[in-house]
């Protein structure tokens, strides 16, 4: 089952030779851009800087045969930003931003939105994003629910003895209550997860769990010098809940979660 053909067919972009892919924006051109960071298609399209006003956009040429995003491109986007952020504060673009020309990057991005971008760089200065992912251990969520609401289990046992056909409504009602109790437990656990992390960080976002086992992911914007405090807080958390919740702690990342908005609300065709 190959999706790739569909992806290629759906991609309407026919980038001209002059089109550029934008990775992010920094205050000034980092040293590493001087041909040393390989871009989207490796060494054929090294990352270069386009300066405009007080800001610099980090871009590379869009390969002429580039139709649709592949895993390699997504990885390249992250690799470039991760390398650049070691040197200075980078505002990461979402994957897939392509502008028609260098002039468009200068005018449409750096000049038109100079104020917002400068404010954003200031806000992120000296900070990095860390990610705390929390997963329930085997059935830990259900066990916690039953510990809090033992009567749910009793009612389930009673229903079990009765014919399904005659107790369908009761089963659904109980199921709804269980679902409610699960949601309640998740939000309790989420609060317990987030509370000890608020101290050391500048900003924090909670991404809801993507599955029943995934409790939540907490995205943290932390000043570099306060990282040890955060690391210690995560460690305490992981130790305290180790029987119920597994923690995966990842980073540092480009601060994607803290730049997650559109500069322009209305699409404005620029072609």
């Amino acid at each position: 089952m190959r999706q790739q053909t569909d992806v290629a067919a759906a991609a309407v972009a026919e980038p001209a030779a002059a089109a550029v892919y934008v990775y992010g924006v920094t205050r000034r051109a980092p040293q590493t851009v001087r041909g040393e960071v390989a871009g989207l298609s490796g060494d054929h399209a090294p990352v270069r800087a386009i300066e405009g006003g007080e800001l610099t956009a980090l871009v590379s040429d869009v390969p002429a045969d580039w139709h649709a995003a592949s895993r390699k491109d997504v990885a390249a986007h992250d690799r470039v930003l991760s390398e650049l952020m070691r040197e200075q504060t980078v505002v990461p673009m979402r994957f897939g931003i392509v502008l028609p020309s260098e002039v468009a990057v200068r005018e449409r991005l750096l000049q038109r939105h100079g104020g917002e971008l400068t404010a954003l760089v200031d806000r992120l200065e000296g900070c990095e994003q860390m990610s705390v992912k929390a997963y329930y251990e085997n059935e830990a969520l259900l066990r916690a629910v039953l510990a809090r609401r033992p009567e749910l289990k009793q009612r389930a046992d009673e229903l079990e003895k009765l014919p399904v056909a005659r107790t369908q409504r009761e089963r659904i009602a109980l199921g709804q209550e269980v679902a409610g109790a699960i949601a309640e437990q998740r939000s309790l656990d989420e609060r317990a997860l987030v509370a000890p992390l608020t101290g050391p960080v500048e900003e924090l976002q909670v991404d809801a769990g993507a599955s029943e086992q995934h409790l939540a992911t907490v995205q943290l914007l932390v000043r570099r010098e306060r990282r040890p405090e955060l690391d210690a807080a995560v460690k305490r958390l992981a130790d305290e809940y180790s029987q119920r919740i597994a923690i995966r702690y990842v980073g540092p990342l480009p601060p994607y979660s803290f730049c997650a908005f559109a500069l322009e609300e209305e699409p404005q065709p620029w072609a």
Partner: protein, 143 residues
Amino acid sequence: MALAASGNRYAGGPSPSGLADVLDLILDKGLVIDLYVRVSLVGIELLTIDARIVVASVDTYLRFAEAVGRLNIADDDKQGLPELMENMTSGGAKSKTSGALDAAKEKIGGIFDDDEDDDGEKEKEPARKERPRRSRRREESSE
């Protein structure tokens, strides 16, 4: 301690990110000029949205029925989860649910299938721990 032995688990400090860790951030977060500029990504957008709808539209009743059935396992340590799932009268709910999830995953996975640089990254959920029994060794490969 036992937990530290497992690679995907918290082991005293942050881990460097793998693509699976940041994929949703790269695709969904970060700065956008406007959505029109993201035109070259039409294909990926559709597939991502599609996958989410599949997951979200799993029938509600089946989920409730499943929840009721699962209440029975909480005090039963003898059986593992998979056997219990099969034994349940409402077992269909679980298999349908995970079927939909798998299909969605497969779909997303398909986007990246063509690449030759297969570094074998998978969603890095921490390996499931066995039921808390201190003496038991926890093997990642147990699943």
